[in-house]
Symmetry: C2
Subunit: 219 residues, 2 copies
């Protein structure tokens, strides 16, 4: 493979990863919308997208591994391909969380609507913003932007803890809403996991761009 | 690097990953013990082990990436190194879950002991057994053994769902135990995630040994 051809293959890999990211971001976005509007059709759309996301994950991994096998890339190119393999895995798990939340929202549909003291949409939008920003950093090869994602995770964790406490209080005040409340607790926890995956992605971007491993430093 | 030297490096990588697995398995084991005996010292041991596990993760990744860069391995060796990078990430996340459970067990220590209708130790031991079996499959290069791990995940999921329902019933029967019950709910969910990571590891072993990507097939 010529250098030009190799560069084209790396671009293709990047394009595919961005397409994967787009699918996953849409799943999260739809999940939040489904929660807000109790829209069952949206839940099913998200649950149905799991297979497409999984297929894309395998396609990306295959391309990445083929490039490693055929091109023996060095230094920055090698780090790029490793970063893609890792980011790909995290994106797939964000998709899993979106599906898991969509299932919970579907279950919530069985209950009377309830004014909950937990701002799930805010938590969801914050987690989605982290994913988007981490991917933006990947596109721009911008380690500073990636760094700023790491700071956002504290806010997500705090919102999640607030949700946990609020749900305990809610149940104590009205035990009849236990089912809905537990459902929302699990939803909040899933969205917090999305934030964790975004953090992983941001760290992979920094690793690729700077050539240093920053994992666990910010923790 | 000669072929002999390269083989030695691959062995070293495998040894390090097994040491990492040992640390992580010990953390899970101690967490279950801490839950059973409400042993705060054990909780702190687990929480303190996070840094060692993180350090080991970086060491393994560095070695794997150096080998990719210097040796341009092909076919089975390449798949092996990619599998190590992935398994390493999953092991680190199992360690994270152990720490997260240990924190919850520590919090549980603040409450009166309670006879809960959730068999947390059984769930924990099953999840730990999945991790151990997946690693055993890795050591033996045994794709059939890895395959058997995938089936165990259904049992873990079922136990976790049972825990979820039991906790709802428990709270409805006695709202005063809400705090303890929510804590146990989160613990059960973390242990279920350990099972998910073990599943990922088993799939990586199959990918390495058979050269096929079985992810999502069993789902």
């Amino acid at each position: 493979m010529t250098r030009i051809k190799f560069t084209q293959s790396l671009d293709e890999l990047k394009e595919k990863l961005l397409a994967m990211a787009g699918m996953v971001e849409q799943a999260i976005q739809r999940t939040i919308e489904a929660y807000t509007s109790r829209d069952l059709a949206l839940c099913h759309l998200v649950i149905g997208s799991e297979q497409d996301i999984n297929r894309m994950e395998r396609e990306i991994d295959q391309l990445a591994i083929d490039l490693l096998a055929m091109e023996q890339p060095m230094a920055r190119d090698l780090r790029f391909i490793i970063a893609v393999i890792r980011i790909n895995a995290d994106l797939e798990r964000v998709g899993d969380q979106a599906v898991s939340v969509a299932r919970r929202v579907r279950d919530l549909g069985m209950f009377a609507s309830l004014d909950l003291p937990v701002d799930v949409p805010r938590l969801g939008m914050l987690a989605a913003a982290m994913v988007r920003k981490a991917l933006q950093a990947f596109i721009e090869e911008n380690a500073e932007l990636a760094q700023s994602v790491l700071a956002m995770d504290d806010e997500v964790d705090e919102l999640n803890w607030g949700a946990y406490r609020a749900i305990g209080n809610l149940i104590r005040a009205n035990v009849d809403v236990t089912d809905q409340a537990l459902n929302v607790l699990i939803i909040a926890r899933s969205l917090e996991r999305v934030g964790d995956h975004a953090t992983n992605i941001a760290e992979d971007v920094i690793f690729w761009v700077r050539g240093t491993d920053v994992r666990h430093e910010a923790k």
